[in-house]
């Protein structure tokens, strides 16, 4: 294996991209990722906050103390992972993190790995999804993505500009990916539209340093309407219009507990912004 460290976008030529490596290194070690060429993109991905634009290379630790960003994003960063991981992990890498589904992480030949079965649906799934869980029941683990979706953020890549929401897709028979990222596509910057107050609430199985059981981001937009996005409830960050949408959840037998939890957090978040 070789490690390349390009200093300009023109030098990029295939390989597996690595920023902080908090996801990539464990997945390489487990054999869930394989490559002959690692590409350290820290030299080409912008880092830091400039007005409403955030470099995709900015670490979560930098964002958790950044006064100039909306509360929901700062709080999502502060509550994510552990201090060491927040110092190492980038915003871009966080948005592209893989599922924490234990079957997937243990290398089961499940649907997300290209197989024909969802082991979680038939097996252990207490941390899994309550929406869109028919094909793959994984629950999206990113606090930060939920916050950015609620805030209506956009992302600029080396190929296009799109809403953060459009970075994600539900996996299906024909395409098992949960993102719309093209090969060779690099996240460069996140842009935040003007927004009013925002909030992020997170339920964890302990008080600190855990993935979201359910995370709720709500941002009030210029026209006064709140936008709600949830972490930990679907294979991708999940938008709902209001608390009543939770009545349409399709929990698995052992994820039913997430529905009232999500309902309570959404109500609490809306009340906090009222």
């Amino acid at each position: 294996m070789e490690l390349l460290r390009p200093s300009s976008l023109e030098e990029l030529d295939g390989g597996l991209l690595l920023h902080g490596g908090t996801e990539v290194v464990p997945l390489l070690r487990e054999g869930l990722l394989e490559t002959e060429r690692l590409v350290d993109v820290r030299g080409v991905v912008p880092r830091g906050v400039d007005g409403a634009v955030i470099g995709a290379g900015t670490t979560l630790a930098e964002l958790e103390v950044e006064p100039a960003i909306p509360d929901a994003l700062r709080e999502a960063c502060r509550l994510a992972a552990s201090p060491q991981l927040r110092s190492m992990g980038s915003l871009g890498g966080n948005l592209l993190q893989a599922t924490r589904c234990w079957y997937w992480r243990l290398g089961y030949d499940c649907r997300l790995h290209g197989g024909d079965r969802c082991h979680a649906r038939d097996g252990e799934h207490r941390e899994h999804a309550i929406f869109a869980n028919e094909f793959c029941a994984s629950a999206h683990p990113s606090d930060v993505a939920a916050a950015l979706v609620a805030l209506g953020a956009r992302v600029r890549t080396n190929q296009r500009e799109l809403a953060v929401e459009e970075l994600y897709r539900l996996p299906d028979e024909g395409n098992r990916s949960t993102t719309t990222l093209e090969s060779g596509e690099l996240l460069l910057e996140i842009e935040l539209p003007p927004a009013g107050a925002s909030v992020y609430l997170k339920a964890m199985d302990r008080k600190r340093w855990a993935f979201p059981q359910v995370g709720v981001a709500v941002a009030r937009h210029e026209d006064g309407s709140p936008r709600i996005a949830l972490a930990g409830v679907a294979p991708i960050p999940w938008r709902i219009e209001g608390v009543d949408d939770l009545d349409a959840a399709t929990p698995l037998p052992r994820t039913e507990w997430k529905v009232p939890l999500a309902r309570a957090l959404v109500r609490r978040a809306l009340a906090a912004l009222a």
Binding site: L3, L18, T22, L38, R42, P83, Q84, M88, R208, W209
Partner: protein
């Protein structure tokens, strides 16, 4: 094999190791600095915490070839008053998590010499102690200046 230059506890090292080797492996197996522990080896527990340019990071999931900056391990903090404070507060049981705890705590008190309990809990959350010495660790950090 691929050449690697590392500064650890003020000393320079030039090594030739395969890309993919973690910083923790280098510290323990190549440099004999076995104070840095490996427990989970996947970023969950904090036993392998070292400082890179003063910032606590997880050496088990850091690629040695990607390190930018100076590494400080527990061996480089031997004289730090926190070590004595941990002993005074009896903040050690099996001791396996302790080097990582001290490395994280040293970065905390360097930035914030008199942290509150809440600040300690936030900054130390990435260092798991299976023996449950948390209250004593908190006591050690609160009283580190003696």
């Amino acid at each position: 094999m691929s050449a690697l230059r590392l500064t650890v506890n003020g000393g320079e090292h030039v090594l030739d190791v395969p890309v993919g080797t973690s910083l923790a492996q280098i510290l323990r197996d190549e440099l004999g600095l076995t104070g840095t522990k490996i427990a989970c080896n996947e970023g969950h527990c904090g036993a392998c915490t070292v400082q890179i340019d003063g910032v606590p990071q997880l050496s088990c999931i850091t690629l040695a070839h990607a390190v930018e900056g100076e590494v400080t391990t527990i061996e480089g903090l031997r004289e730090h008053p926190l070590v004595e404070a941990f002993v005074r507060a009896d903040a050690v049981q099996c001791g396996y998590c302790t080097p990582g705890q001290v490395v994280s705590a040293a970065a905390l008190v360097a930035a914030n010499p008199q942290p509150t309990r809440e600040e300690i809990r936030h900054a130390m959350a990435g260092n798991i102690c299976r023996c449950g010495t948390y209250p004593k660790i908190e006591e050690a950090i609160l009283s580190w200046q003696g």
